[in-house]
């Protein structure tokens, strides 16, 4: 059995708030040496999941582990895991440097580490000022600096790119790739915008409405997204023509039809339409972007069965 060192595992994680299932039977694994994107629309349960893995929230059922143990049982959590949950965890009147020194003391690392991480995130000049005056981007950087204090092997960052300018996003990408590729650390970053992290991550865990949609390599999802989009005045007829060859047609909000299924190619769809005498105004590849696939994946989720159904 491979070592659990550096691995994040969610096993059947479920969190129920009152009657709302925020997270439902969610299982996935995040391996060291990769940057994994934890994706889903707002309210999909990403933050709740991270909070359960980090021991800040107790799962209704299921477990979250890091290095094979629950967060609370890690021998030195401050030096094993670095995490940021939203870039708002600062006392406004405390300087960035003092904020970091507080957590240097708590994690049991030398105070010089505060200056090191300030430099890593490019806040050396701003370090002596109160966090009150910091922009969202600077707060993101300070949050990341806080997570890096204990030089952790595992990083969990909630929406780290949120509020960063394009230059900042490029910087963050370089830093996170370095952590994964050179240091072999485990990096899990959440986002509700795929394009924001598309070039940073190599693996993705996609959730919607608290449930797992997809977990795996980003490349695979790109291949799977190569559907076909058709514009036709008779979508029903097209659907009827495609059903025998195991393809499904779905009318998109703009009136065009997305064709999915195994063996979907422009040729196959075009041929089926021609044979069935379906009038076609446009026939194009649907792989117009990962973002579209992401939106499709996350919006197609069936609603959770209602308790009274």
């Amino acid at each position: 059995m491979p070592s659990a060192e550096g691995r994040i595992v969610a096993a059947g994680l479920t969190k129920v708030f009152g009657e709302v299932k925020a997270v439902e039977d969610l299982s996935f694994t995040v391996e060291p040496g990769s940057v994994t994107g934890f994706l889903g629309p707002n309210g999909a349960g990403k933050t709740t999941t991270l909070r359960m893995i980090l021991g800040l929230a107790t799962p209704t059922s299921g477990t979250g582990t890091i290095n094979g143990v629950a967060y609370a049982h890690l021998p030195a959590p401050g030096r094993t895991v670095g995490a940021v949950l939203e870039a708002t965890s600062f006392y406004p009147g405390r300087s960035a440097r003092n904020h970091l020194r507080v957590f240097c003391a708590a994690a049991g690392v030398p105070d010089t580490r505060a200056d090191e991480v300030l430099e890593m995130v490019g806040l050396t000049q701003a370090g002596k000022y109160p966090v009150r005056g910091f922009s969202l981007g600077m707060r993101q950087r300070l949050g990341l600096a806080t997570a890096l204090i204990g030089n952790p092997r595992v990083l969990l960052l909630d929406e780290p790119a949120n509020g960063l300018d394009p230059e900042g996003i490029v910087w963050l990408r370089g830093l996170l790739r370095h952590f994964a590729d050179v240091d072999g650390r485990t990096v899990l970053i959440s986002s509700h915008v795929l394009s924001e992290v598309e070039q940073t991550v190599d693996r993705v865990v996609i959730i919607a409405k608290g449930r797992l949609i997809y977990a795996g390599r980003l490349d695979d999802i790109e291949g799977a997204s190569a559907g076909v989009v058709v514009r036709t005045p008779t979508p029903d007829a097209l659907g009827a023509a495609l059903t025998p060859i195991h393809m499904t047609a779905k009318v998109l909000p703009d009136g065009s039809v997305a064709v999915s299924g195994a063996g979907v190619t422009l040729e196959a769809v075009g041929h089926a339409a021609w044979e069935a005498h379906v009038e076609i105004h446009e026939l194009r590849s649907g792989s117009s972007g990962l973002e579209e696939t992401f939106l499709r994946l996350t919006s197609e989720t069936p609603d959770a069965p209602r308790p009274d159904a």
Binding site: F90, Y91, S95, H99, A107
Partner: protein
């Protein structure tokens, strides 16, 4: 534990709050002392001279009124963690939440002792020249004036710890501060005059504090000083324990 205490100490010393509250505590203590001296020891309609040891003791004990600021400091030190979400990195670095609370209580006690010492010194600094100018000797040892000042320090320090306990239980900063002040200023003095509660009154926080210094509210019977200290500290621990059960063990915002 040392790590946590150092971290908590840094939290206090890296912000202005503690200093501002200390000024408030000093102002309140000074006000009480000055008011007592200026009223020239009027007690129960009988005019006692400032040279009287009981009067001097009572003047010294009024330094303890600064506890209103130390309990607020205690409350703010813990509730600010939830208000500004520094509770997240705090409990991420140390998931054993009870240890964090204990460290905070110890640091609050130290802050309270510092507040107490400053207020006691300030009281002495007002009493010595003022009474000296009137030609009255201060009965430091034989009249219990020093003891009174020391007991004020104890009250101020314990209330900082009680503040932490209360803040653990009531995480909302405004609610906890207003609740504590409303209780100490309004509710407890009211309860005092209800016959049924008379028996339990000595065990209430404000009465326990009065028992320590022996100042004010002499209408009801109070506990002996050491018992007052134990009871007051007990309240702090009770709050913290209830907070542990009802909030801290649960999900951290």
């Amino acid at each position: 534990m040392t790590r946590l205490i150092r971290a908590e100490w840094r939290k206090v010393t890296s912000i202005k709050l503690g200093w501002g509250m200390l000024l408030g505590a000093m102002a309140l203590a000074a006000l009480g002392v000055v008011a007592q001296i200026a009223s020239n020891g009027v007690r129960g309609g009988v005019q006692l001279p400032l040279s009287n040891a009981t009067v001097q003791k009572s003047i010294a004990a009024s330094a303890s009124s600064a506890y209103l600021f130390s309990i607020v400091v205690g409350i703010i030190l813990i509730t600010t963690e939830f208000r500004h979400f520094t509770s997240r990195p705090t409990f991420l670095i140390e998931p054993r939440r009870g240890f964090v609370i204990v460290a905070k209580m110890l640091v609050a006690a130290v802050v309270g002792i510092i507040y107490g010492i400053v207020c006691a010194l300030l009281t002495a600094a007002i009493m010595i020249p003022w009474l000296g100018a009137k030609g009255d000797t201060i009965h430091w040892i034989d009249g219990g004036v020093l003891e009174s000042l020391l007991s004020a320090i104890v009250v101020i320090a314990i209330f900082a710890v009680v503040g932490i306990g209360l803040g653990v239980l009531i995480r909302n900063q405004i609610t906890a501060v207003i609740g504590a002040l409303a209780y100490l200023f309004v509710l407890e003095p009211l309860v005092q005059i209800i016959p049924v509660v008379k028996d339990v009154y000595p065990y209430l926080p404000g009465a326990a504090a009065s028992a320590i210094t022996g100042a004010g509210r002499t209408t009801s019977s109070l506990l002996v000083p050491w018992a007052g200290g134990v009871v007051l500290l007990g309240w702090g621990l009770l709050f913290a324990l209830s907070g542990w059960i009802f909030t801290i063990r649960r999900d951290i915002p």
